[in-house]
C-alpha cells in the first residue's frame, strides 16, 4: 500500500524558471492495485513517479510504502521495496555486460552483495528458466552483451528484472513509449501478465490514453502539479478514451475561468 501526503516540489525556486512541479499531492494506492497516471506535458506525472523512486527530495510531504516512511531514504535504499522500469530502454540495463550478469544483479536487488561468485551453475539455470517464459529465445544468449538486444527485448528484460524479487511497488515510467508499436504491445501485455500473476501494487505513467484505458484498474489524472480527477472501480471499467479527453477538456475550460467563478461553478457541476 502506498500513501502520499501533501507532497510538493518546486524546481528552481525564486528564479524566472521556477516550476511548481507538484502542488500538494495526496494519493493512496491500496495493496495490489495497478494505477495509471495520465496528464499533459508538464503536469508533473513523471515528477510524482520520480519522487516515489527517490530521484530527488521533495520540499514537503511524506511518502509511505506499507506504513513505512521512506521520504528520507536514498534512491538506492528504496530499491529494496521498489522495482523500476524506465522510459529509455537503455536506462534499465548495463549494455556491455551480459544478459546473465544484468539479471543476476536484479536477483540481489536490495540485498547485500558479498564476495560469492555471482553466476553459479544453479543461478544460470534459474535465469535461463525464467527468461524462457519471455518466449524471445534469450535463454540461449545469456552470455551475449545486453547491448546487442533490441529495445523491446531490453525493456522486457528490465521488466523481468524489476519484478524478479517481488517488489512492494512497481514503478513504470512510460515504459512502452520509446518502443515500436509491436514491441510496445508485447511489453504492455507482459506487464499486465506479471502484475496480475504476482498481484503487484504498481504505478504507471503513460502518455497513451488508449493504454490508460486498457491496462490499469485505476486512472489518476494530473494537471499542473495536481491530481484533478481519478477513475476507479466501476467507473474505470466503463471509461473510454473519449471520456478521458472530455475530462481533460473540462479541466482546461475551468482553468480559463476566474478562480472564484470556477469554484462556484465547480461546486454546482462537478
Amino acid at each position: 500500500m502506498i500513501n502520499i501526503r501533501r507532497l510538493t516540489k518546486t524546481f528552481f525556486p525564486n528564479t524566472p524558471n521556477e516550476v511548481q512541479a507538484l502542488r500538494g499531492i495526496d494519493l493512496d494506492i491500496p495493496e495490489g492495485c495497478f494505477a495509471g497516471i495520465i496528464g499533459t506535458n508538464g503536469s508533473g506525472k513523471s515528477t510524482l513517479l520520480n519522487a516515489v523512486a527517490g530521484t530527488f527530495e521533495p520540499d514537503q510531504g511524506r511518502i509511505l510504502i506499507d506504513q513505512q516512511d521512506i521520504t528520507n531514504w536514498a534512491e538506492y535504499r528504496r530499491a529494496s521495496l521498489i522495482g523500476r522500469v524506465f522510459q529509455n530502454p537503455f536506462a534499465g540495463t548495463a549494455a556491455d555486460m551480459t544478459i546473465a550478469e544484468n539479471v543476476v544483479m536484479a536477483m540481489r536487488r536490495g540485498c547485500s552483495r558479498g564476495l560469492g561468485l555471482a553466476l553459479r551453475r544453479s543461478v544460470r539455470d534459474e535465469i535461463a528458466d525464467r527468461i524462457r517464459s519471455l518466449k524471445m529465445g534469450l535463454e540461449d544468449r545469456l552470455d551475449n552483451p545486453i547491448g546487442t538486444l533490441s529495445g523491446g527485448q531490453r525493456q522486457a528484460l528490465t521488466l523481468l528484472m524489476a519484478t524478479w524479487l517481488r517488489p512492494r511497488l512497481l514503478l513504470l515510467d512510460e515504459h512502452t513509449a520509446a518502443l515500436d508499436p509491436k514491441s510496445a504491445a508485447q511489453v504492455a501485455e507482459l506487464t499486465l501478465e506479471i502484475i496480475r500473476r504476482e498481484k503487484l501494487t504498481a504505478l504507471m505513467v503513460t502518455h497513451s490514453m488508449q493504454q490508460a484505458v486498457q491496462l490499469p484498474e485505476h486512472i489518476i489524472m494530473m494537471h499542473k502539479g495536481q491530481i484533478v480527477r481519478q477513475f476507479g472501480g466501476q467507473e474505470k471499467a466503463r471509461v473510454r478514451v473519449p471520456d478521458l479527453l472530455a475530462a481533460f477538456d473540462h479541466v482546461r475550460r475551468r482553468e480559463q475561468l476566474d478562480p472564484a467563478v470556477a469554484e462556484i461553478l465547480g461546486r454546482q457541476y462537478v
Binding site: 523512486a53 536514498a74 534512491e75 538506492y76 535504499r77 530499491a79 529494496s80 522495482g83 523500476r84 524506465f86 536506462a91 534499465g92 540495463t93 548495463a94 549494455a95 556491455d96 555486460m97 550478469e101 544484468n102 543476476v104 544483479m105 536484479a106 540481489r108 536487488r109 536490495g110 540485498c111 552483495r113 558479498g114 564476495l115 560469492g116 561468485l117 555471482a118 553466476l119 552483451p145 528484472m161 524489476a162
Partner: protein, 328 residues
C-alpha cells in the same frame, strides 16, 4: 674470436634489456590494472595515480630502511595507496568535486605527503633486502652458489632473475584475485556502476560508495606497483610518479588492441598486463635506437592522443569517402 665476444656481449645487453622490460612491465601491470579499474570499469578519469604510485614507493622505501620486511612494507604501501584513492573518492562523492579536480587535489597534496614520508626527495635502498631476496637466495642455493643463471642461452644475474620471478608471481596472483572479484556479486555491481549508475541505483546499489571502493582498489594496486618499482630500481623518488597515468593509459590501449575491446574481465586484465609489457619493450627498443629519454613522456602523450583519436578519425574519413563515391 673477437667477433664472437662482441656477439655474446651484444646478446647479453639485449637479454638484460628484455628482462628489464619484462620486470618493469610486470611491476607496472599492477598500475595498469589499477588504471583499468578506474578508467574502464568506473569510467572515472582518476589522476591520483601520479601521486599514489610515489606514495607507495616512499612508504615502502622508508619502512624498509627502518628494518621492516619487504613484504610488510609492500602491504603497507598498498594500504597507503588505497587511502589516497579513498580521499579522492570522498572528495568526489561527498563533497561533489569534479572527478578530475578531486584527483588533482589529492595528487598535489600527496607531493607534500611524500616529501614528509621520505623526509627528503630521494630515498636510496642500498644494502636492504628487497622482495626478491628470498627468491634470489633460493636460486643461489639451487645453482650451488652461481652468480648468474642461464635463460634461453644467455646468462642472467641472479638478482634480476629473482626479481622477474617474484614480480611475475605477484602480478599473476593479483590479476587472478581481481578477476575472481569482478565475477562476484560485489564485483558485478562495481562493473555496472561505471556503465549505468541509474540502473545500479535502481537495483539497490549505493553507486557513490561503489565509486569510492573502486578508487580504493585502483589506487591500492598503484601503491603496490610503486612499492615494487622502488625495490626494483633501488630508490624512491618524489618525481617518479609524473606522467604515470598516461603510461597506464597507453598500456591499456595497447592491451585492448591485443585482446577485444569488449570482453570478459579476465581477458581485459590479461590485455592490460600484455599491453604494459609490450609498451615497456617498445620503450626499451626506442631508447636503444637513440630516443632521447627526455622526449619519452611527449612521445607517450602523443601516442595516447593518437590511439584515442585515430579510430574515430579513420571511421570519419571512410564514411566521407563512401559518401563521396555514392554522390559520384
Amino acid at each position: 674470436m673477437l667477433v664472437r665476444t662482441t656477439e655474446i656481449f651484444k646478446g647479453a645487453i639485449i637479454m638484460t634489456l628484455v628482462i628489464g622490460a619484462f620486470t618493469i612491465g610486470l611491476i607496472l601491470s599492477l598500475l595498469s590494472m589499477g588504471v583499468w579499474i578506474s578508467f574502464r570499469i568506473l569510467r572515472y578519469c582518476d589522476i591520483t595515480v601520479d601521486g599514489s604510485i610515489t606514495l607507495g614507493a616512499s612508504v615502502a622505501a622508508v619502512l624498509m630502511i627502518n628494518g621492516w620486511s619487504p613484504w610488510t612494507a609492500t602491504i603497507a604501501a598498498t594500504l597507503a595507496g588505497g587511502a589516497a584513492g579513498f580521499a579522492t573518492g570522498v572528495l568526489h562523492t561527498k563533497f561533489r568535486i569534479q572527478e578530475l579536480l578531486a584527483g588533482i587535489l589529492v595528487m598535489t597534496a600527496l607531493y607534500s605527503v611524500n616529501l614528509r614520508v621520505m623526509g627528503k626527495s630521494n630515498v636510496p635502498l642500498i644494502n636492504v633486502d628487497n622482495i626478491a631476496s628470498p627468491a634470489a637466495g633460493m636460486l643461489t642455493r639451487g645453482t650451488g652458489g652461481a652468480d648468474s643463471i642461464n635463460i634461453l642461452g644467455w646468462p642472467v644475474p641472479i638478482p634480476d632473475a629473482a626479481m622477474l620471478i617474484t614480480v611475475l608471481v605477484i602480478t599473476v596472483t593479483v590479476a587472478l584475485i581481481i578477476r575472481r572479484f569482478l565475477l562476484t556479486h560485489l564485483g558485478t555491481a562495481m562493473r555496472a556502476t561505471g556503465e549505468n549508475p541509474q540502473m545500479v541505483r535502481a537495483q539497490g546499489v549505493n553507486n557513490q560508495a561503489m565509486i569510492v571502493f573502486g578508487l580504493v582498489c585502483a589506487n591500492a594496486l598503484v601503491g603496490m606497483s610503486g612499492a615494487l618499482l622502488a625495490q626494483y630500481q633501488g630508490f624512491a623518488d618524489v618525481q617518479m610518479g609524473i606522467g604515470m597515468i598516461v603510461w597506464g593509459l597507453a598500456s591499456i590501449i595497447i592491451g585492448e588492441a591485443l585482446v577485444a575491446a569488449r570482453c570478459t574481465p579476465g581477458l581485459a586484465l590479461l590485455g592490460a598486463i600484455m599491453g604494459t609489457i609490450l609498451f615497456r619493450l617498445l620503450v626499451a627498443i626506442a631508447l636503444r635506437w637513440g630516443l632521447n629519454p627526455n622526449d619519452l613522456k611527449l612521445v607517450t602523450a602523443v601516442f595516447v592522443f593518437a590511439a584515442l583519436v585515430l579510430p574515430g578519425a579513420v571511421k570519419y574519413f571512410v564514411q566521407k569517402r563512401t559518401k563521396e563515391k555514392i554522390h559520384d
